[in-house]
């Protein structure tokens, strides 16, 4: 078995949260037994979640330090038998494509956990219905399981393992939105669940197809297929899948590509599969929106890179124009939709749709800059959009509504909040000096050589983006203070703890994005080599 185990770090990062979730069960038992008061139980659960995700964050830091950017191959590999009959393995590792996302997951999960804590002063406004107040053990358990699922998706190098994590992620998300969500939570939750599942079942078939038409190897004397993504990638680059029989009158690789792409496009989310996102975001509690926007959306792009690009390069070439067109539609269309929004959170949700379009456009150009920008955009958007949703959360906790036009003149009542909001908004509209700009610029630079018209159309969206963000600022923050909010409290410590780190990172990576580029560039170069 090649790729021998070199480190168990990733396994720790993946399953530590699950262990935390398991730790919550005895707490429940104690509480049921009456040994613990409800409040005490809740506190312990919160503490467990905080410690677990914090520990993962520390490991993530170590991962970053120990990762060797010079080596484009897989690192921190752990390899084990799982289901030998079908040669399914437990096979995890990171390379340049996934390293940033693993770190991002650790970071965002931790911030989301903090955002789920009602501990700090100035939280008097959190009543019993607030998501931090009821069903705490369940909430924390779900949060931790979700983190395991997300990390697992990014580290698993065995296609079957990947699929399992991919699905595992859905369940906690469903409950987190459905139980702790807003007014139309059931609708949003089921919509999210059905959309994603519908996408992923097709993916399952494609996975089976890749397995049967894929490379074979001898394991304990038995000739068998493999789910090993790396071997599949080699096989795919060598054109192995072209030999697969026609299905009806279609080439297998194209059908498989489409099946995967739809599965991932739902997650991105790509027009026209994006309508679950606004609902999910609007109804989800703030930390969950943070995770949704910060990590979940990234999985679509990651999957496309990891599977469609790496394993089915020929089909990727074939489909590149479609990707570019859809990317452009995402960018421009969603930007316009944002312009029409009255609900702040909905606007930001759509802006995520628009920004994920950059990734599609950049990837489809098959240039170093394009794909670098796309992957960097995962990181930058992963920092910015969580901040945006936290910003929304702050105001929603206080005003209990998100109607942009229902505010006005808040800047003089809550200057600090206004400043942070401005930072987040300008970062998102791509102001140079903040990290959003770097990815946008690099994507456009890279995509121009391949898609001139589309790039220019997409680049026009920066104007729309500026328009809707500044307009929102004007309607919420500027003008006469709406007397209703004459006593609105400014951000409290919980919110500072979540907002300031993100803000700082946004600025740091605005001036030194190279820290990310060094990590990703090597692997991405190899990735697009067969595509150019």
């Amino acid at each position: 078995m090649d790729h021998p185990t070199t480190s168990t770090l990733l396994t720790w990062m993946t399953f530590l949260p699950l262990a935390g979730a398991a730790l919550i069960l005895p707490v429940l038992a104690l509480r049921a037994g009456g040994a613990l008061s409800k409040a005490a139980g809740d506190q312990i659960c919160r503490l467990i979640a905080l410690v677990a995700s914090g520990a993962v964050l520390v490991l993530g830091w170590y991962l970053w330090r120990a990762f060797d950017p010079q080596n484009p191959a897989l690192q921190f590999v752990q390899h084990g038998r799982w289901i030998t009959a079908y040669n399914i393995e437990y096979f995890v590792g990171v390379d340049g494509i996934s390293i940033t996302l693993v770190m991002l997951t650790a970071l965002i999960s931790f911030i989301a956990t903090i955002a789920s804590m009602p501990w700090w002063p100035g939280n008097a406004h959190l009543d019993g219905h607030h998501f931090t107040q009821h069903g705490v053990p369940g909430y924390m358990a779900m949060l931790l399981i979700l983190q395991t699922g997300m990390t697992g998706v990014f580290v698993s190098m065995d296609l079957f393992l990947f699929y399992v994590f991919w699905e595992v992620m859905l369940l906690p998300m469903y409950f987190l939105i459905g139980i702790w969500g807003g007014a139309r939570k059931e609708y949003a939750a089921i919509k999210f669940f059905l959309y994603t599942l519908a996408g992923s079942v097709l993916m399952l078939l494609a996975i089976i197809g890749l397995y049967f038409y894929g490379p074979q190897e001898v394991v304990d004397g038995r000739l068998t297929h493999t789910f090993n993504m790396l071997k599949m990638a080699q096989w795919g680059r060598a054109g192995g899948y072209l030999a697969a029989p026609l299905i009806g009158s279609f080439h297998f690789i194209n059908l498989a590509w489409i099946a995967f792409f739809i599965g991932f496009a739902v997650k991105i989310p790509m027009f026209p599969f994006h309508t679950w996102l606004p609902d999910a975001h609007v109804e989800a509690p703030t930390p969950i929106s943070v995770i949704l926007a910060g990590v979940l959306l990234k999985m679509g792009i990651y999957g496309i890179l990891r599977i469609n690009f790496a394993i089915l390069p020929q089909a990727t070439k074939w489909a590149a124009p479609a990707m570019a067109v859809f990317g452009t539609i995402n960018i421009v269309y969603a930007a316009f939709v944002c312009l029409a929004q009255k609900d702040l959170k909905r606007m930001i949700a759509y802006s995520s749709v628009s920004h994920m379009g950059f990734c599609l456009l950049g990837m489809s150009a098959f240039t170093q800059q394009g794909i670098d920008g796309a992957v960097l955009n995962l990181w930058t958007h992963g920092l910015i959009s969580p901040m945006l949703f936290l910003i929304v959360g702050v105001i929603y906790d206080r005003a209990h509504h998100r109607n942009i036009e229902g505010f006005g003149g808040l800047a003089q009542q809550v200057p600090e909040y206004a400043g942070l909001l401005g930072l987040a908004f300008f970062a998102s509209l791509g102001l140079p000096g903040l990290c959003g700009f770097v990815s946008e610029f690099t994507v456009f630079l890279g995509s121009l050589v391949t898609w001139q018209t589309l790039t220019i159309i997409s680049a026009l969206s920066v104007i729309i983006t500026a328009a809707y963000y500044l307009w929102a600022i004007q309607r919420m923050m500027l003008g006469k203070l709406n007397p209703t909010y004459a006593t609105l409290p400014d951000v409290n410590w919980r919110e500072r703890l979540t907002l300031y780190p993100l803000g700082a990172l946004i600025i740091v990576f605005g001036f030194y994005p190279q820290a990310i580029f060094t990590l990703i560039e090597g692997s991405l170069r190899n990735l697009i080599l067969p595509l150019q």
Partner: protein
């Protein structure tokens, strides 16, 4: 081979970063603790920091100049300071590095020094501003961004500054954001500039790729040719965003890059023209040229020092600076140069014509700025780069002076901006009056003030230009430009006479819109609000309430009944406002000027600055630009100094008609200025003449068209803004009803089928047994039908199914 003097070699100066760093530091300090400082130690602390860092950065600039620039070899005047590589992706490498060449040096000088002066001025002008610290934070941040723009050694750093100044101008225009109109002006400025930035960035992309490949004219596909390599001369040829590397590989013939670029096309357009025009689009945004000038007049909503610094002296000249910086590209493309020059001259005339009839003194200056920028673009357009830059410098002095003067006037007239409500100020505000007059003298182009030299140099170069697409264009530009110059002279003196001569016509209350610009008034309104909201009478109650709601400057607008009443409250409450709301003395002149009384001269912090600028406006001309014609062929100091930065200057051809002609044209210039002055004097001196009124009577429509700025704003509003909003609504409708609707419809379909199926099952089955049961007892006739029907259908269902399968099987094989 001997080193080619066209090749610029960098001199590492590792501390250039200090220049932008100090302002950044200042704004960082003020944003972090400025609010507290202001509370604890008063506004002095705040502006001590702000002005201090500006002085520091001035000092560094001076040191750089005297140590490295002054008297250094032309090839030694390219100072660079490489901090770190921001990012690198494929052939793209973006450094955070600063570079100062003579051109940059000059701009850095202007920025740091003028900015410092204006900081000082602001300490007086903004003395009553409650959010003092916020103002200086923005101002420092602006200087930082502007320095990035000027000193950036590559497109990216320049663009960082480019957008940074946009941000700061947004923040400063909307500084008094409680007035939605001002907020909207800020938004407008930023969004309009985004159009320009879009062009800038696209141009950069195309240029970048063109350096290492070609755009196949047949397929429009990009074809990669070579990666970066280094010539024997040490010139890096290949994709780059560094100005110096770009300049070298373009201006060094041995690389053949210039020829390559000339030969290339993009979508059938000549590539260079396209790229340069796209860059120029960026310039039109920043420098308020047609068609993107609309934001600048609205930008006057900002405090006057801001207008002086950002919207006259520095930021708006960024476009000109950029074109001059890229002279080696523009020089290669006559079409592009022609576009620049023509747009410039048209803007000059257009803006001047609007300037004629404005009554708001700052609006007049705004349009004059637009028009002067037009002149600068004529200069860089026709290839007289140094002349354009020279006008940029002189303009920085006299326009800043004019704006600050107007600020002083506005303050004097209690935040009155309408010139019809001024007049006769020369007796009340002598210093302001003299400085303003000097600046008018300069801008109108009377010798020996600076405007004369720069403007005439530009127009003269326009007349003799030969590098344009057609020979007649140069003269045409000259004529139009001359008319614009005439206009300039006219409306500037008009503003002077309306403001300073005749009887004082103001002094009784102001209209709502101006009030908001007045910090006192804002503070006062808090109290008005407090009164009208809180207890309706009794000063002490007012004060109590005041201290609580002191920050809501705008509460009162709805409640304010008449201006007069407002004004009275105004007087009463000022002291309380400053005292109760921000319980400390107001530095420069706490309540020095009670309102509603006679006009008053401004405090020293402002008048000194005015004097300095006026002096510069007068002398800068002949110090830096003494014409070669007068000096027996010695090229002017500035031209000589800038030469290394403007390698293209020697390639651009001009006619040499000889000195006599040049003197003649200089006389024309003088005549034009004099004519304008005479006209203005005749019509507006002491407000005696009734001609303007009668003219207005005669051509009401024409007048209103011009007065309303040719309805361009309305046009944009109706087309661009409305258009995009409509598109937005449509898209959202599609999203909600079509796409999501489709999904829901599918869901509905599924359920419908389900219900149908369920119904069949239920009814057949239940019906069957009910019928059966019923029948088994009382052979109820009424149920017979049901029963038979049911049993038939359900067993037939099964049987029919079986038979169908038989058939299918038979068919399949």
């Amino acid at each position: 081979m001997e080193p080619n003097e066209n090749i610029a070699r960098a001199v590492e100066v590792s501390w250039l970063w200090l220049i932008p760093f100090f302002p950044l530091l200042g704004s960082a300090i003020n944003v972090a603790v400025g609010h507290r400082l202001q509370k604890l130690y008063g506004k002095r602390a705040v502006h001590f920091i702000a002005v201090g860092v500006m002085l520091a950065s001035c000092v560094v600039t001076e040191v750089v100049f005297w140590k490295h620039m002054f008297g250094a070899e032309p090839s030694q005047r390219f100072l660079e300071d490489h901090l770190w590589t921001m990012w690198q992706s494929g052939s793209l490498r973006v450094n955070l590095s600063f570079g100062i060449d003579p051109l940059g040096m000059m701009m850095t000088f202007i920025v740091t020094h003028v900015a410092t002066l204006i900081h000082v001025y602001s300490t007086g002008y903004m003395a009553d501003e409650p959010d003092y610290w916020r103002f200086f934070t923005w101002l420092n941040l602006f200087v930082f961004s502007m320095l990035l723009l000027v000193m950036g050694s590559n497109f990216l750093v320049m663009f960082f500054g480019w957008e940074g100044v946009g941000l700061c101008s947004y923040g400063l225009i909307a500084f008094w954001y409680t007035d939605v109109e001002k907020a909207k002006a800020g938004l407008k400025a930023f969004v309009v500039n985004r159009f320009g930035d879009f062009g800038f960035v696209i141009g950069l992309f195309i240029l970048f790729w063109s350096l290492s490949g070609i755009w196949n004219p047949q397929t429009n596909k990009y074809e990669h040719q070579h990666v970066a390599y280094v010539t024997a001369q040490g010139v890096t040829v290949g994709p780059t965003v560094e100005f110096r590397e770009l300049r070298n590989q373009v201006s060094d013939e041995s690389t053949g890059m210039a020829e390559r670029l000339k030969g290339m096309t993009f979508w059938g357009f000549p590539l260079l023209a396209l790229v340069c025009i796209l860059f120029f689009v960026g310039a039109t945004g920043k420098s308020a040229q047609i068609p993107l000038y609309v934001w600048l007049p609205d930008a006057m909503a900002g405090p006057t020092p801001v207008s002086a610094l950002i919207h006259a002296a520095t930021m708006v000249t960024a476009g000109v600076y950029m074109v001059a910086r890229l002279n080696f590209l523009f020089a290669l493309s006559p079409p592009a140069m022609t576009v620049v020059a023509v747009v410039g001259v048209l803007t000059a005339l257009f803006a001047a014509s609007i300037g004629f009839f404005q009554y708001d003194i700052k609006k007049v200056l705004a349009y004059s700025t637009v028009s002067q920028l037009g002149f600068m673009f004529i200069g860089v357009g026709v290839g007289a780069y140094w002349a354009g830059v020279f006008h940029l410098m002189t303009h920085a002095f006299f326009k800043a002076c004019l704006f600050l003067g107007s600020g002083s006037v506005i303050l004097a007239c209690h935040h009155e901006q309408d010139m019809r409500k001024m007049g006769g100020l020369k007796s009340y505000t002598p210093i302001t009056r003299w400085t303003y007059l000097a600046a008018c003298w300069a801008i109108a182009g009377f010798p020996w003030a600076s405007g004369f030299y720069s403007k005439d140099e530009i127009l003269w170069k326009a007349w003799t230009a030969e590098n344009l697409t057609a020979p007649w264009i140069g003269p045409a530009i000259y004529i139009v430009g001359a008319i614009a110059a005439l206009g300039t002279s006219f409306y500037m003196f008009r503003s002077y006479y309306m403001t300073f001569t005749g009887e004082y016509r103001g002094g009784h209350g102001h209209e709502d819109k101006e009030r908001l610009e007045d910090p006192h008034a804002m503070a006062a309104h808090a109290h008005a609000g407090a009164i009208t909201h809180g207890v309706p009478d009794g000063a002490p109650a007012a004060h109590a309430a005041a201290s609580t709601v002191a920050h809501q400057h705008d509460e009162s607008h709805g409640a304010m009944s008449t201006p007069a009443q407002a004004h009275d409250e105004h007087k009463v409450e000022v002291a309380a406002a400053t005292a109760a709301a921000h319980g400390h003395d107001d530095g420069a002149h706490g309540d020095a000027h009670a309102h509603g009384g006679v006009p008053h001269e401004s405090p020293n912090s402002m008048t000194y600055v005015l004097a300095l600028l006026a002096f510069a406006a007068v002398v800068a001309g002949f110090v830096f630009g003494w014409p070669a014609a007068w000096a027996g062929g010695h090229e002017p100091v500035l031209e000589h100094f800038l030469a290394p930065s403007l390698p293209a200057a020697e390639h651009v051809r001009f006619a040499e008609p000889g000195h006599a002609t040049e003197f003649l044209f200089q006389f024309f210039g003088l005549a034009i200025a004099a004519l304008g002055w005479a006209g203005a004097r005749a019509l507006y001196l002491d407000n005696k003449s009734t001609v303007p009124a009668r003219l207005k009577e005669m051509f009401p429509r024409a007048w209103s068209v011009v007065f309303n700025k040719y309805y361009v704003d309305e046009l944009y509003q109706a087309t661009v803004v409305r258009g995009s909003l409509i598109v937005a609504r449509i898209s959202y409708f599609i999203d909600q009803n079509l796409i999501d609707g489709l999904v829901n419809f599918m869901g509905f379909l599924g359920r419908a089928v389900a219900y149908l199926d369920a119904a069949i099952d239920t009814y057949i089955v239940d019906g069957a047994v009910n019928g059966l049961a019923s029948l088994t007892w009382n052979s109820g006739k009424q149920l017979r039908r049901i029963q038979t029907g049911h049993i038939q259908s359900y067993l037939f269902g099964a049987l029919g199914g079986a038979i169908v399968f038989v058939i299918i099987q038979y068919v399949i094989r």
